[in-house]
């Protein structure tokens, strides 16, 4: 029916207050909203970009991606997640080369990271932005193991992190994430801050 589509369209295009005050009950009767949460499908592909800001010699810019399978509403398995890093030398590297003749190529640079993680989803929620836009979101902690490859060597690492997804639809979300790889051999951190999008199917 034509009006169904029209209704859907109007529902989204016509601005109105996303939330407003209301009484706490109706004649003393508790009122609840029964809502099927906007729940993404079980398989999710992620893509994005980020930075590795902690290295004193290089600023790493990463392109990252991942594939996650949601086992339930609380647990998921990030089957694979990784990041390919492009390094840009910082002032310190140039200073070392200039003052001490240190060849920048001998300084260890991150090349890529790859890991597999168990994901715990502790919270789902909704937020209202400027009293006009509703946004569903969920947050997750993850932990697992992986590999870090630098220009010098590759070594195993523990991966941990936190992320938040804001859903535009059931299939698409925006994601921001903080992810850290901790080298098993020396405890060095490869922390990245990433933003990106996910597609669920």
């Amino acid at each position: 029916m034509g009006m169904g589509l029209l209704g859907l369209f109007l529902f989204f295009v016509t601005p109105s207050l996303a939330n407003e005050e209301a009484p706490k009950n109706l004649d003393g009767v508790t009122v609840e909203a029964v809502e099927t949460y906007r729940n993404p499908k079980s398989l999710e592909l992620a893509a994005g970009a980020g930075i590795f800001p902690l290295d004193p010699y290089y600023m790493g810019f990463g392109l990252n991606g991942g594939l996650t399978y949601y086992l339930s509403t609380s647990f998921a398995w990030e089957i694979i997640g990784g990041s390919y890093a492009f390094s840009v030398q910082k002032d310190l590297t140039a200073q070392l080369a200039k003052d001490y003749g240190v060849n920048p190529d001998v300084i260890e640079k991150l090349e890529y990271t790859v890991s597999s993680n168990l994901v715990l989803i502790p919270s789902y929620g909704k937020s209202v932005i400027f009293r006009s836009f509703l946004q569903s979101f969920r947050t997750a902690f993850f932990a697992g193991g992986g590999l870090v490859k630098t220009s010098v060597s590759s070594f195993p690492a523990v991966s941990i992190g936190f992320r938040s997804d804001s859903y535009l639809t059931e299939a698409f979300s925006w994601r921001w994430e903080v992810r850290d790889y901790i080298a098993v051999k020396d405890g060095k951190n490869y922390l990245s801050i990433n933003v990106g999008t996910t597609v669920s199917f």
């Binding site: 034509g2 009006m3 529902f11 996303a18 209301a22 004649d27 029964v34 729940n39 509703l134």
Partner: protein
């Protein structure tokens, strides 16, 4: 005998006044130029001050005989109606005497409204002549009008058949209001036919998802749920009327429906709570009515939605909206500022005079309904309390208290039960339900 006849003649003749002089008045200097009125109407339309445009157009239509001014006025009125204003059409188009002849949509609308106005007065031949000037088969409003006419005659099935092609048609977004009216009429027809599930479907799938929200749609959908015995949801829908944005929908029907649901649940505490809520809102007015205070002093009566008070409510709404739009009189271009100030100041007086024609009867009706409902709620409360002392109720197993669940974490669907705590969320509007416990024992009949 002749004397007697003469005396009788003189007495009866004295009853006839001499022919009165035709009423005439002088238009104040500021409002004498029809060209300025046309520009003022154009300005109001451009700035979205539709109530001002409507009132100014009605003024022009009364003041001037010049065809061009009248046409501007009728065009503006037709546009305001298109935007959903429900000013009684009959009064406006009954006396319409222009003959627009271009091929704009206005011309079709004009003859349609004129035909409708004549039909309302029973002038069928005139109506037929005006309708004859439009493409009836392809003009959706004519089909809708036919459906309404059949509805009034109680021919529900035929009315539904008239509406169905309109519902299947794709309308542009600009015609949202029209298709909303069609859908609402369709839902009401289904309700009249006791097809509550189908009627509810129209509200759920369309009317209650369309912005701006029409609060009466919640009420009508809740009645469907009541007859479908889905009482928790009926209360949930009524909860929407408690939102601040529904404040202007000042209807008593919401209390009636809530009372009926609580009766189904034999719930004396809920009836008591309802009575308290009602009295906290209307108690002072009810006492004032019973004490015989002047009704005109009671502001609540002036906004109470009483079906028979439609014309009065429209007039008061127009006055209110004009006062609001008049606050931006400074936006009017300098060359129109004199006429705009003249218009708003005189319109306020005219509106007040117009409202006073209807006010006494309207307030009487509102007062009567308010007092009657107050008594009815008290009676229903007594009735429910009396039921509670019946042995079969006393010794029935009591239903367990209902508590909201935080989460039902099924694998496929993730269902949340958000307990309401003083906020409405736009996306939850269709998802409210009340957690009410039956005092009847096994719960209300399903």
């Amino acid at each position: 005998m002749k004397k007697l006849i003469l005396i009788l003649f003189l007495i009866s003749a004295s009853g006839f006044a001499a022919p009165k002089k035709k009423w005439s008045g002088t238009i104040p200097k500021e409002g004498q130029d029809p060209k300025q009125w046309k520009e003022l109407i154009g300005h109001f339309m451009e700035k979205g001050k539709f109530h001002s445009a409507l009132a100014a157009s009605l003024r022009v239509q009364t003041l001037f005989d010049e065809v061009s001014s009248k046409e501007t006025a009728y065009r503006a009125i037709a546009q305001v109606i298109e935007k959903g204003y429900t000013y009684p059409l009959a009064q406006v188009f009954e006396r319409a005497d222009i003959e627009p002849a271009d091929d704009s949509p206005f011309v079709t609308n004009y003859f349609f409204y004129k035909g409708k106005a004549n039909a309302r007065k029973g002038l069928d031949r005139w109506a037929s002549a005006h309708f004859g000037r439009i493409e009836k088969d392809t003009f959706p409003k004519y089909r809708f009008y036919q459906a309404l006419t059949l509805y009034e005659k109680g021919k529900l099935d035929e009315a539904i058949e008239q509406l169905k092609p309109l519902l299947d048609k794709d309308f542009p977004v600009e015609e949202q209001l029209f298709i909303t009216k069609v859908a609402r009429t369709y839902a009401r027809l289904l309700f009249e036919k006791a097809e509550y599930a189908k009627s509810l479907g129209v509200y759920d799938s369309f009317l209650l998802k369309t912005n701006p929200m029409v609060p009466s749609d919640w009420l009508e959908a809740a009645w469907n749920l009541y007859y479908l015995r889905r009482y928790e949801e009926a209360l949930g829908y009524l909860f929407n009327l408690e939102a601040a944005s529904s404040d202007t929908f000042n209807t008593l029907e919401r209390y009636v429906l809530r009372a009926l649901v609580y009766r189904e649940y034999c719930s004396a505490p809920r009836m008591q709570a309802l009575l308290e809520v009602f009295e906290s809102k209307y108690g002072e007015t009810v006492v004032a009515i019973k004490n015989g205070l002047p009704l005109a002093q009671m502001a609540q009566l002036k906004t109470l939605k009483v079906t028979e008070n439609e014309v009065y409510l429209q007039a008061t709404n127009l006055k209110r909206e004009l006062a609001r739009e008049a606050q931006a009189v400074g936006e009017v271009p300098d060359e129109l500022s004199d006429i705009a100030e003249h218009f708003y100041s005189t319109e306020a007086k005219e509106s007040t005079a117009h409202i006073s024609l209807y006010e006494d009867e309207a307030l009487e009706r509102a007062a009567s309904q308010l007092v009657t409902l107050h008594e009815n709620i008290k009676f229903l409360k007594f009735d429910v309390e009396r039921e509670a002392y019946k042995p079969e109720v006393i010794f029935r197993k009591k239903a367990a208290a209902v508590k909201p669940k935080l989460q039902d974490d099924g694998e496929a669907n993730f269902v949340l039960h958000w307990e309401q705590d003083g906020e409405f969320w736009r996306d939850e509007r269709l998802k409210y339900r009340a957690l009410i416990v039956s005092e009847c024992g096994e719960g209300p009949a399903k």
